[in-house]
Point group: C2
Chain length 440, copies 2
Amino acid sequence: MGKVLSTKPASGFRDFLGAESRKRSDLIRKIESVYRSFGFESLETPALENLEVLLGSGGQENEKLIFKTLKRGEKLERALEQKCSESDLSDLGLRFDLTVPLCRVVAEYSDKIPLPWKVFHFGPVWRAERPQKARYREFYQCDVDVIGTASQAAELEVIEALYGAFEACGVSSLELRLSDRRLLAACANAWGFGDRLGEFAIILDKKDKQDTEALAKELRELLGKALPRDLERALHEKVSLEEAVVWSQGAGESLFKLIEQLQDLSKAKYKVEFDLSLVRGMGYYTGVIFEWMQQGTDFALGGGGRYDDLTSRFMKRAQPAVGGSLGFERLLLLLESESESETNQPVFFPVMEESLRRSVTSVAREFQKRGLAVDLFVGEAKMKSQLKYASQKNYRWVVFLGEEELRTGKFKIKDFRSGDEKSFSSLEEAVEAVRRGAAA
Amino acid sequence: MGKVLSTKPASGFRDFLGAESRKRSDLIRKIESVYRSFGFESLETPALENLEVLLGSGGQENEKLIFKTLKRGEKLERALEQKCSESDLSDLGLRFDLTVPLCRVVAEYSDKIPLPWKVFHFGPVWRAERPQKARYREFYQCDVDVIGTASQAAELEVIEALYGAFEACGVSSLELRLSDRRLLAACANAWGFGDRLGEFAIILDKKDKQDTEALAKELRELLGKALPRDLERALHEKVSLEEAVVWSQGAGESLFKLIEQLQDLSKAKYKVEFDLSLVRGMGYYTGVIFEWMQQGTDFALGGGGRYDDLTSRFMKRAQPAVGGSLGFERLLLLLESESESETNQPVFFPVMEESLRRSVTSVAREFQKRGLAVDLFVGEAKMKSQLKYASQKNYRWVVFLGEEELRTGKFKIKDFRSGDEKSFSSLEEAVEAVRRGAAA
């Protein structure tokens, strides 16, 4: 009736069906279980926040990308009566990250939360990016944070929890790169960038994507003269933490201890490296920053850092904080396609004749009670169509229950992977065979 | 730092911390696992949809409650250049239910989805309700649907899957009330309501909340004369399906078979009842409708029905469909407070002196490797504060590792529930004791 509606998801958004959706929820569950094993508590916050909470949070570029919701009812009518501006029309916005809502929560429940608070916070975030390949307007974030302590034990805990998650996902060859915002600021200062630290950092942050000479040129233009020798070296060679500490007149001292502890804790399972060129985008970091790379690639699988001032927007005495997150969408791409879903695939029960549905259902329920997932065919269709359905779903086990089987209590099970068909004389035997086969 | 920001969630929205958040995620996981055991696949759709998808979907009242997002950039500027209306300003909206996005998905991927499609679809939905007690603007829905078959096997499967979820949550004394939209329409027609079926249904839907006499009065006013004797009876007494079939001249025939099959499948674990006064709010139902009640209460724990026409907005040949959902927020309230969270609580590791942190961490990791959750204290604080933290978190097990213990390889563990303190001479012994205790 009328025009045909587009059935695609809105531009920049995605639907996830079947195996893809399962892979996502398995991954979330896995990460959650690791964080819980480290004693982190979960937190859930709303998708929509008051705009004043989201704006001016140090989210910088991201703040421009907020999806704002229209006011409603009388408030909207009043705004529309005359020519109006954006800010007259909107009061709420979709969160663009999870850190800003976390800081609001820390302030709101400060009398109830035992500190230090070890917390993880998962959920989708939204950014009105210009749609382009592999850039989405809704994506999932998995944050883990320690709130309320200046102790480096917090950095250790967040980093170890993130590593625990990578390990549980089977990701190996990881490298942890660390630096410290105070160290970077002190170096930039010593090199003459003074109050242009922000611009300096933005240029340096492009190091992985740009040619070193192009970078040096940009920095020279910013500085208005030739670069100091130390900075030239830093651009072209790996600089040791010892050297950087000298350049920064001691600002990186505390990193020594952290890196030493991490090298000890990591037991060489991952590489720990100081990286003076590490910047990390967000403006709110105040101390240690870190990034997880997969060795031999140039993309980060996660990262984080200390942000001791961010809660000060919401409370008088700011709480020191360290947080990290892993790149959920990137991690998904790395995971092999054969996930748990395949070992826990449903056993298929076709229904040969409608008159047998009741009996077939009863048997299927018995399989379920014994811990197996089942898929009972719910349409009325010929056996050929039912088997086509099973093959489209890539099912391995099919239990044929005809009148003969139901009468004699026997089970005929076909393994579609091998093509074998076997008979079993009891339910327990049949269940056991599928369970063993499925686990093999 | 300017004015102090409000740190409350936006009006009508909620934060969930600690045990409450865990209870929610445990419940979601439990329901998901039941639906998977029935062979349903998962589906994830975006929070935001094109407005044209959401509007005119038969969502009726809910459509008025859509949170719409403002256009951005040039599009917004252009709209604001002159006096504009609501529809000029917005292109996307937050979904108000999960059924409309599901129908879009059925049409979009119709060439890839093997039918009948057994699918579950979870997630938050948003409605701009006027905030009031226990009415929220963001709440979680758990839908389960069978798409693509007119067979009553679909109704059976959805109802059984919902019951499976209730059962897994330990909810008992359930009653399933069923009716059929066609039956209700035929009765209303026979009683003279003709083209005022919608109004008739809205009045009848208030049956649980209103006095019968008030209802009868409203119906008399609508009809403009005294009510037919059969309707009077239906308002005051329980009407049998046999009678209703006679009144409706056969429209309820197919319900007989369904109810009979359900009585057989349910094995008396839940009550199955025909209820002529059942309406269910949404306009899109076309056949069987049902509602789960807890006996002795007057609120529904879930419900659903057949909606064979809803996909026709998106595709030429509509797919028949049956769906159901459970009241997630209500189910949460029913669940006892002691959830799995308590049995799987972290074991607490205080750090007596910072110099011992490394050693204590190693031991804690060994407990983790053996499947126990641990909480290593991450601040630098006196033992008294650390124990206060443990007691605020309601932890039961505390492992004391001082210099003495670390040197001798012994473990001193205190059970804060009983007050007992015990020593163990090996890690395995200590882990075993906690595991047994935690399971007791």
